[in-house]
Amino acid sequence: MSTERAQDGDRNEAASSSRCSESYEFSHAAAKAAVAQVCESVGYEHFKDPALESLAGFALQYILQLGKTATSFANLTGRSQCNVFDIILALDDLTDNGEEGISSESCSLGRSVKLREIIDYVNSSEEIPFSQPLPRFPVAISDKSRNLIPSFVEIGETPPGKHIPLWLPAFPDPHTYKETPMWIERVSDPRGDKIEQARQRRKAERALLSLQRKLVCKLSSRNTVWGDLDGVKEEMREEESDLRSVSPPISEEKVESLNRDGLSVIEAFAPAMEAARDGFSSEAHTEWKKKKPVALSKLRTEKKFLGQPLDLSLQMKGEDRPLSFVREEDRDDKRRRAEFILRQCMENPVDLNQL
């Protein structure tokens, strides 16, 4: 069976070496493979390529001639679709029968020599078993693309326009040629957004005010400071958590407003810190020192929030941006001032201690 496998290899090479860019080339290669298999069944072991190609060409021409003659016979009788008798007549037409020629009775089996020959051939050849697989010809050999695109009727669509008949292939889906946004478009409610924003701002302000009040109270009553330092810290942490609980649901725009409020905390701290510097004793300073890390940590968390607005989100409206830039500059100034003040406070208790 090695020769047969060599045949297979030759055939496959012939089929694969031919360029499949055109449908003609592919069908020609397929015909070559089929013809090679027929020749092998006859008894050949090897082929010469030009001989095989010309024989495949002849086979294809035979098919074409048969088809053409059969069609002309059908057209002669006024039909467009061909009959078995048309084919029989065409077969007789192609073979050189000599004196017999085509008579009116040659349509039948008895008269058609060629058909009898074919029947004998079929009956004789089915005795020989073939163990080789026939090369698989894909369905794409014939142009089936027209069957892949269903018509309007098959889809159940009405064509967009009265001039398009229903039996034509349907249009492709709009998502294949239209660019659609990748995100889910939420219905924007500017008024609702503003109301929500104001409400959250008010909530944040309330929390900050209460924090400020408590700090001032704690500062004014020095006696309770030492013992209640932890309590103060706890209160501050509560306020922080309040602020933080408010901040996550807020979008970046609202965080900006929060930062503004946060810096107002620093502003609130600033006069208090000056007062502490002027009038308070060292105990107050140490208190302040202890409170400062918490405040500083708060400041640093605020700074983190400041970093976020730079992330451009799709919700960011363009009109807000120039205003926010102005506010950023103010915020920078305020931040620098607050930092300066804090640094001074930190230095001063050091000096005081040294004193």
């Binding site: 015909a31 008894g43 050949y44 035979y62 048969l66 088809g67 679709q81 061909c82 077969l91």
Partner: protein, 139 residues
């Protein structure tokens, strides 16, 4: 009358045989190996020539007819190949016609009987016997 009746009976028999034959053609669907020429290929070329028929049996008939044609040509060429005198025996083990190769010469000889003139041009045109009838040339 008798002749007419006889021809009528013959026609009935012929028709029955024909339908039987067509039915037998369709029986080959489950087996892969016959006919060798796939239906898709035949249908493609028939459509090219204007042959329109939804019946698969007719396409198989055409495929079988083509296969018979190719087999006839190939068998004729094989006979020509075998009839050619054996090559010079160098070894005692070498047999006659060990290689059965389908060549253009055999093919042209076989096709000439079918009325097809195929002449493979010579590669080298330097001998004085180039282009002459191959039957008169010595190989």
């Amino acid at each position: 009358m008798n002749h007419g009746q006889q021809s009528g009976e013959a026609k009935h028999e012929d028709d029955a045989a024909l339908t039987e034959f067509l039915a037998s053609l369709m029986d080959y669907t489950p087996t892969v190996y016959f006919p060798f020429i796939p239906d898709d290929l035949v249908e493609h070329y028939l459509a090219k020539s204007g042959f329109q028929c939804p019946d698969v049996r007719l396409i198989r008939l055409v495929a079988v007819a083509t296969q018979k044609f190719v087999a006839d040509v190939a068998s004729d060429a094989l006979q020509h190949c075998k009839a050619r005198p054996a090559p010079v025996v160098k070894d005692k083990k070498q047999q006659k016609d060990k290689r059965l190769i389908l060549t253009m010469e055999d093919l042209s000889k076989a096709l000439r009987e079918y009325g097809v003139n195929v002449k493979h041009p010579e590669y080298f045109a330097d001998s004085p016997s180039t282009g002459m009838d191959p039957a008169t040339r010595d190989e």
